[in-house]
């Protein structure tokens, strides 16, 4: 089946971004509207990916294949399966929200701001749909550039440090991956096709080395403990939109990399090293959960909570059962909505008060009741309350973990307590109580633009919490296939 939907999903936002850039900084309203139209258009072209998706096969769909660099047998190969298709939709959806969220807040270099987000959206769609390793790598690394600029240009006071840390940390991981990719090129007899690599038999030593090279690349991106330290810095300094994209989509790239590269290419090494992976994941879940508890900065708290939630995702991958893996994927999508919503909620009050310190707030509910209601819902989702999307994924992963080993499941389940503790405690300190100071007293409630964004996310969170079937149904066959593939040894 030949179609150009994936190419459209990648290039429509990028082309739109170039148009936005061309309009320059003189007419900022035009830039904003053009960006919004592009983002919506970018989302619309991804919708047929869902409606036309065949739920009964684990094959790549909407495939495209064009030669790119024939000398090294590099192709422009695109395709999605049940694992990746949802992320493209999520990404394109979040981009619309980011554009709207930055509508009034960003006043300087509006066109560049909007263009950076649109370009990043296109690049990330490319990452999720690339089936050629070099193409994947190119998108993967190129997406650092817009994010670097977003943090550095529109970020907070310590933005330069955060931007450098973000870029260099991630580059460190991806450069080793590049070496691994070239190594695989020679091992496979001259191919960069990821699907061909899935079928490539490899010795144990080679698998372990490859697994470790990929691990560094993806662990930094996820981020897993102990290479997570760039994330709190990046989140705190990034503008709201940047934090949203970072948490909602960029972190998923690392997790997605595990599913696309590490597990299928080095399945034996994955099993061999699963103990280590589970340990690292549990440390992220439990230890980082405690770290989140003591944060005084709201954004930092949510950043640590993201790391903890992503620990859940990697845990789900390495217990190798259907519940764990599907739960992890659901958790990824859900975290995309919930973390986006949390950062947007923080952004709303930050825009008014220019402070992210929990201590500066208190009694926000008195002046912003609508806001408090939405924030409540998203905090509950972040804590994993049943009937919100946060619950579904966590519950599935915990079930899977218990099936694998009771104590691992037990340790993982502590997140339900810890998550509730740090999220709700923060919520209580910020929203409840008496009005803390005159700045809080002067707060105005959500504008209709903010309300729209919040409502859209609230619908997603509740819908996924109550009826996750449309999501799990899409991924079911692909997950099944992946697990079977990983279960079979490919030792030489």
């Amino acid at each position: 089946m030949s179609s150009h939907l994936l190419s459209l999903a990648i290039w429509v936002p990028i082309a739109g971004a170039l148009v936005v850039l061309a309009t320059g900084e003189r007419n900022t309203n035009l830039s904003r509207w053009l960006a919004l139209v592009t983002a919506i258009l970018g989302f619309l072209v991804t919708l047929p990916l869902y409606s036309g998706f065949d739920h009964t096969t684990s094959d790549m769909q909407f495939s495209e294949a064009l030669p790119w660099i024939q000398r090294f047998n590099i192709g422009y190969l695109l395709g999605v399966d049940g694992i990746s298709v949802l992320f493209i939709l999520l990404n394109s959806f979040i981009t619309i929200l980011v554009v709207i969220a930055g509508w009034k807040v960003i006043e300087e270099k509006v066109a560049q701001y909007m263009a950076a987000f649109l370009i990043m959206s296109g690049l990330m769609n490319g990452i999720f749909s690339a089936l050629d390793a070099v193409l994947f790598y190119v998108f993967f690394e190129a997406s650092l550039i817009p994010m670097y600029l977003i943090i550095g240009v529109w970020g907070g006071p310590n933005r330069v440090y955060a931007a450098f840390k973000f870029f260099l940390y991630t580059l460190l991981g991806s450069l080793l991956m590049l070496v691994a990719l070239i190594y695989l090129f020679f091992e496979s007899g001259g191919s960069f096709s990821i699907l061909e690599w899935h079928a490539l038999p490899l010795g144990m030593t080679a698998q372990i080395l490859l697994f470790l090279a990929f691990l560094i690349a993806f662990a930094v991106k996820v981020p897993m403990w102990p290479v997570h330290t760039w994330l709190p810095d990046a989140h705190v300094e990034a503008p709201t939109g940047g934090s949203v994209v970072l948490a909602a989509i960029m972190l998923k790239l690392g997790a997605y990399g595990f599913l696309r590269f590490s597990l299928p290419i080095a399945p034996d090494a994955s099993h061999e090293l699963s103990g280590m992976m589970i340990t690292l994941s549990l440390i992220a879940v439990v230890y980082i959960g405690f770290v989140a508890l003591v944060q005084a900065d709201m954004k930092k708290l949510v950043a640590y909570s993201s790391i903890s939630h992503m620990g859940f995702v990697t845990l789900g991958f390495f217990i190798f059962n259907q519940l764990g893996l599907e739960g992890a994927l659901v958790q990824m999508i859900s975290h995309g909505f919930v973390s986006a919503a949390m950062f947007l909620c923080i952004g709303v009050v930050y825009d008014r008060m220019h402070s992210r310190q929990i201590a500066d707030y208190g009694g926000v509910v008195n002046t912003m009741p609508k806001y408090a209601a939405f924030f409540m819902l998203f905090s509950m989702a972040n804590a994993g309350l049943p009937a919100t999307s946060g619950f579904v994924g966590e519950f599935m992963v915990v079930l899977g973990a218990v099936k694998y080993n009771f104590w691992i499941g037990f340790a993982a389940a502590t997140t339900l307590i810890l998550g509730a503790a740090y999220t709700l405690w923060m919520y209580k300190r910020v929203v409840f109580g008496a009005v803390a100071n005159k700045h809080v007293a002067e707060l105005t409630d959500l504008s209709s633009r903010e309300l729209l964004v919040m409502a859209a996310l609230a619908v997603c969170v509740l819908w996924m919490g109550l009826y996750p079937f449309p999501v799990t149904d899409v991924m079911h066959v692909s997950v099944d296939h992946l697990l079977k593939h990983v279960a079979a040894s490919k030792l030489l």
Binding site: I69, E141, A142, A163, F167
Partner: protein, 492 residues
């Protein structure tokens, strides 16, 4: 030799044309006043265009030797010469305003550039040690004089002195090495040396000694560690326009020299020179990238970056022969990756020095990193061009620098130098830092200098084309890669 045979002049037609034109321009320029200097410039451009036309029309696939096997015309020489004409022509456009503002656009400048070009052409076409040496000296002597063009500047004269003394030393080393090779093989012809080595009739130890000196001479011209000392001082001391020249076309000639001497002449000693090149490559990448971090002057920073880039080029050059039975396609791959890297580097170097020239104006040199502060506010378009160039130099996709690094790494890993490749990518991570710093200065910082950017239209257009070429050749690297491979396949 008892009867004189008139040599076939046809293969050397471009050189002869250039020499004739240079003599003509020398005479014409005497009668021109400063206000009519544009005539010299126009004639110089016309000469280059004429050379290009002759080279294109005399292009043939065969390897043609003339002047008693001293001069060779093959696909490699033709392609390299065309690239040299191109980069010299671009250089002339970029530097015109700069030189005019400083009263340096005298007739000598154009003539020295033309003679330097002639020297490069002779080097590129050398099939004999003496031809090579003559070409090298013609180039070097012209460059020494060019560096001292601004004769009232103490820094420039100091740089010229340093360059001259060290350059003379390097020429001496090269000549000494050549004399040993002559002693070991009994011939000065590059092809003859290769024959002698192939038949095993060369004297072993003397040959190796000669090789060491020759490699040292090549390393000096390339500016590879430990023969790199002159690069930072000369790049820094010379007027920026001359730095631009030194940093561009001569790299192509140096690549040709390395190819002619090592690959054509001493392929059978590959095992010996590979080890030397490997040490130099790793040291260059390490020293270049580490030292560049500490620089506050952008010319010095780019000088150290040039050292690290030449290290990468050497990495490609040394990866040609692997194991007992070299695989011909891998050999071509390695040399064409070095070729491609050189071409990509020249393109990036032209662009980045071009931007420095763009920011300079009467009585003001934009030499310090600080001068790039807030360029995005002053000129978003040229900030973008510079950003593209910097990311390209750092090896971030989608720019040409990424695929240059990629193909070199591929060649190195294919030849079994996995560890060298890992060391190289780790140091390019270090290198990413100082390129990012330029982007940071341009985008994150506020401008300290509000002066508008003055530049002629042709320079603006050409610089834009240059920057866009770096981006577009990164997205579609196929053409120029194929060109490099095809050229080498036809001339090896």
């Amino acid at each position: 030799m008892n009867n004189f045979v008139s040599p076939d002049l046809y293969p050397a037609a471009p050189e002869i044309f250039l020499l004739a034109m240079a003599c003509g321009i020398l005479l014409i320029d005497l009668f021109l006043t400063q206000s009519r200097r544009w005539i010299t410039a126009a004639l110089t451009h016309a000469t280059l265009i004429g050379c290009a036309l002759i080279t294109i029309f005399t292009f043939n696939d065969q390897v043609v030797l003339t002047f008693s096997n001293m001069f060779v015309d093959d696909a490699l020489s033709d392609v390299l010469k065309l690239l040299v004409y191109g980069s010299v022509a671009v250089m002339l456009v970029y530097t015109r305003g700069y030189l005019r503002d400083r009263g340096l656009d005298k007739g000598e400048f154009y003539l020295l550039v033309l003679f330097a070009t002639l020297g490069m052409m002779v080097m590129i076409s050398a099939a004999h040690f003496l031809t090579l040496y003559l070409g090298l000296e013609l180039l070097s002597l012209s460059l020494y004089a060019l560096v001292a063009l601004d004769r009232d500047s103490p820094r420039a004269t100091e740089a010229a002195m340093k360059y001259f003394v060290l350059g003379a030393l390097a020429s001496g080393l090269l000549l000494y090495g050549m004399s040993m090779l002559y002693g070991a093989t009994g011939t000065l012809e590059i092809g003859g040396v290769a024959q002698a080595l192939y038949h095993g009739s060369a004297v072993g130890t003397v040959m190796i000694f000669g090789l060491v000196f020759v490699v040292a001479g090549i390393a000096f011209k390339l500016g590879a560690v430990p023969f790199h000392m002159w690069i930072p001082d000369v790049y820094h001391g010379a007027p920026t326009a001359i730095t631009l020249f030194i940093g561009s076309a001569p790299k192509l000639a140096a690549f040709a020299m390395a190819m002619r001497l090592l690959v054509y002449g001493m392929f059978d000693l590959a095992e010996q020179w590979q080890t030397m090149l490997m040490i130099m490559a790793v040291l260059s990448i390490a020293v270049g990238n580490l030292a560049a971090i500490a620089q506050t002057n952008i010319k010095r920073m780019l000088a150290y970056s040039a050292i690290s880039h030449m290290g990468f080029m050497l990495l490609g050059l040394m990866s040609g022969v692997a194991g007992e039975r070299p695989d011909p396609s891998m050999v071509v791959n390695a040399y064409s990756s070095a070729f491609y890297y050189t071409v990509a580097y020249v393109l990036m170097s032209l662009g980045s020095f071009g931007v420095i020239l763009l920011l300079s104006r009467v009585g003001y040199e934009a030499e310090n990193l600080e001068d790039f502060k807030g360029l995005n506010k002053r000129s978003p378009w040229f900030a973008f061009i510079m950003m593209v160039l910097m990311f390209s130099m750092a090896g971030v996709p989608f720019f040409v620098g990424f695929f240059a690094k990629f193909s070199v790494l591929l060649a190195a890993i294919g030849a079994g130098y996995l560890w060298v490749a890992i060391v190289a990518v780790m140091f390019s991570l270090v290198g990413a830092f100082y390129y990012l710093r330029i982007v940071k200065l341009m985008y994150f910082d506020a401008p300290t200098d509000a002066a508008p950017i003055v530049a002629s239209m042709d320079m603006r257009v050409l610089l834009s084309v240059n920057g866009l070429a770096v981006a577009l050749l990164g997205i579609f690297p196929q053409g120029i890669m194929a060109l490099c491979t095809q050229t080498l396949m036809r001339s090896l």
